[in-house]
Point group: C2
DNA sequence: GTTAGCACTCAACAGCCGAGAGTGCTAAAG
DNA sequence: CTTTAGCACTCTCGGCTGTTGAGTGCTAAC
């Protein structure tokens, strides 16, 4: 994907200039406008020659003969890998992120929803955040609370401060006085491990124990067997209307395509997981639409970062926008937000 | 609002015809096209005269001199009140609603979210459903489940099958062995009444009881005092992309306006509440955008209905669309869905 | 290798024209 | 008095044209 060719210095300067002006103006950029704006000590004609070279190499393209150049995905990729300045977010942005996040005092779920709004607010593009899913959450405490004879709520607190409730419809009533013991048993088996591990521990007990403990294990298996299947991770996507501001989506058919795409937000996050979390360690990344597997996302790109609790990656957050995004501004914001969220959740959990 | 003037029969026929063709074609309708399509035994010139009359009376309007007529809000209102055929949904629609709803077996929250999708699916317009809010939910069972020393989860089952969990951050730890008794106490006070009533009952105990019961009441007050404020009712709005299909929203600026509007879905539902639930009994209703208080919703209208559990109204559901909506098709669907959802939730609660 | 000059291309915009749909008015017919 | 036919008029929409301006590619000179 990232081939190691390096462009000459002048080519880099000009590619950088093209991308920068294209991103800010949303219009194909010509040789003259570049020398005007950046006045590198050469003439428009020279710039033209270099641009032609860059086009041959696939970094730029023309929409039609004789109009300005526009960066290709390859051009963006090169920019992202070699040219983009590495900088922290502006003090104002940092301030805004910090204060907004520090005002969130409720449970993990709420914090995560608000983070997506925060991202949208600051980046002026839709923000997306995936809530940690159950699969590898470590149980800190579990409690069965009987609601009626035939229904029981299972409250699970996990290691990153999240608490969720599952409703279990029983096939036969749970003896009331048994609940206390069952809770104790579940916590013995479940504390500090994942759901899957708890299941295994209980099965093991079922085989090796006797009498009361065995009876408890049987009940536990019965109850847990009736548990609804794991909820797939929740994804919050906020601020989608911001896309209307982008001139590329002023065409209604394009806008519709994008919105249709974004409706499948679980799908989108799945693609991001594939890109971010397969690497070790999982890391920050900008994903261009055309680099994603199933076609159809050519128009968009995502600046995404994993976030973690206590050193372990638990989810992804990011900003969605058109390919023509001010990456140099968005990237620091996303990175900083991921860091702040990680810290906040870790504190909440600890 | 509904003035009692009745139009002549011929005027009604023509108004009906204009609305019907305008809704289906989305184009201003002229006299000739009406006689062609409906061939009432009169000439185009006569129709023209009648249309001119209807325009004078404010039921129709012209976009510009010499193009067809378009219904005004007043025209729609008259249609809705006097002209629209009263009919059940088509067998296929009924079928679809029944099967989709019967497949939902999870908790009330999930059912309600899916109902908004269902409405969108069948009506081809965005569906909106307001989840029952806490304010007048009757507590069926309440249970405190300690998570850590400083946090406790309160699980509340209400009378319509909903279960919600609230996290309470304690100021000082809750003695573990006290929890059992506290739970019992809370249920004694809370079962069968609303939150507010429970609060009052406990305050009363605090004044009249002594010793242990008084101590329990004190603890209860302390814990409940730390409870987060009532969550405002959740509103699910699904299928908004369907709006892109409507020609009136092919203009991006209009589309953006609508989407901005719909982002404040809690606000929208508030307006609907004001319209539907102030009447006694609360009833089915079509609300045209211009009839709503704060300006700015002229472009849309909502077909909405309350739904209930065990005879009591607990929420609102509906379909949002452009003014130019096929009310005769949507209205039965919304009504039927409200009925089915009411039955389902009542069954679930019972 | 770089620059100036020049001919050429293309999108975007404004203006114009004709077709088509629809109206309002008037006068004649019922 | 109501209905109808006829006619002149209005307005939108689509297609066509010419112009403008930004931008390119090429070539020859520096």
């Amino acid at each position: 994907m990232t081939d190691n060719v390096r462009l000459t210095e002048r080519e880099e300067t000009i590619l950088h200039a093209v991308i920068h002006t294209y991103v800010t103006t949303a219009e194909a950029v010509g040789s003259r406008s570049i020398v005007k704006r950046y006045g590198l000590g050469v003439s428009a004609a020279t710039v033209r020659n270099v641009m032609a070279d860059l086009e041959d190499q696939g970094y730029l393209e023309q929409l039609h003969t004789s109009s300005g150049r526009v960066p290709t995905d390859r051009g963006y990729r090169y920019y992202l890998n070699h040219l983009m300045p590495v900088q922290p977010p502006s003090p104002e942005e940092r301030d805004q992120i910090d204060t907004e996040l520090s005002q969130m005092v409720r449970d993990a779920q709420e914090i995560i929803r608000h983070t997506s709004q925060l991202l949208a607010l600051i980046s002026h593009h839709p923000g997306i955040v995936e809530a940690p899913d159950d699969t590898n959450a470590v149980i800190r405490h579990v409690e069965l609370a009987p609601i009626t004879d035939s229904r029981v709520a299972m409250v699970v607190a996990d290691n990153y401060g999240g608490v969720r409730t599952m409703l279990i419809a029983l096939d036969e009533p749970l003896p009331r006085d048994n609940v206390e013991k069952l809770n104790q048993f579940l916590n013995e088996q479940g504390e500090g491990v994942t759901f899957e591990q708890m299941g295994r521990a209980i099965s093991h007990r079922l085989e090796t124990s006797q009498d009361e403990e065995r009876r408890l294990a049987e009940t536990a298996v019965r109850v847990l067997g009736l548990m609804p299947p794991h909820r797939s991770a929740q994804v919050f996507l906020e601020g989608t209307i911001q896309l209307f501001e982008q001139p590329e989506f002023h065409d209604v058919s394009k806008a519709r395509a994008i919105f249709t795409l974004l409706e499948r937000r679980d799908h989108l996050i799945e693609l991001l997981r594939a890109r971010l979390l397969t690497e070790e360690p999982p890391r920050f990344s900008v994903v261009l639409g055309s680099e994603m597997e199933p076609e159809g996302m050519e128009e968009i790109s995502v600046v995404a970062s994993p976030y973690m609790v206590g050193g372990q990656t638990v989810g992804i957050l990011g900003v969605v926008g058109p390919r023509r995004m001010p990456y140099w501004r968005i990237t620091p914001v996303v990175g900083y937000t991921a860091g702040s969220l990680s810290r906040l959740l870790t504190r909440l959990a600890g």
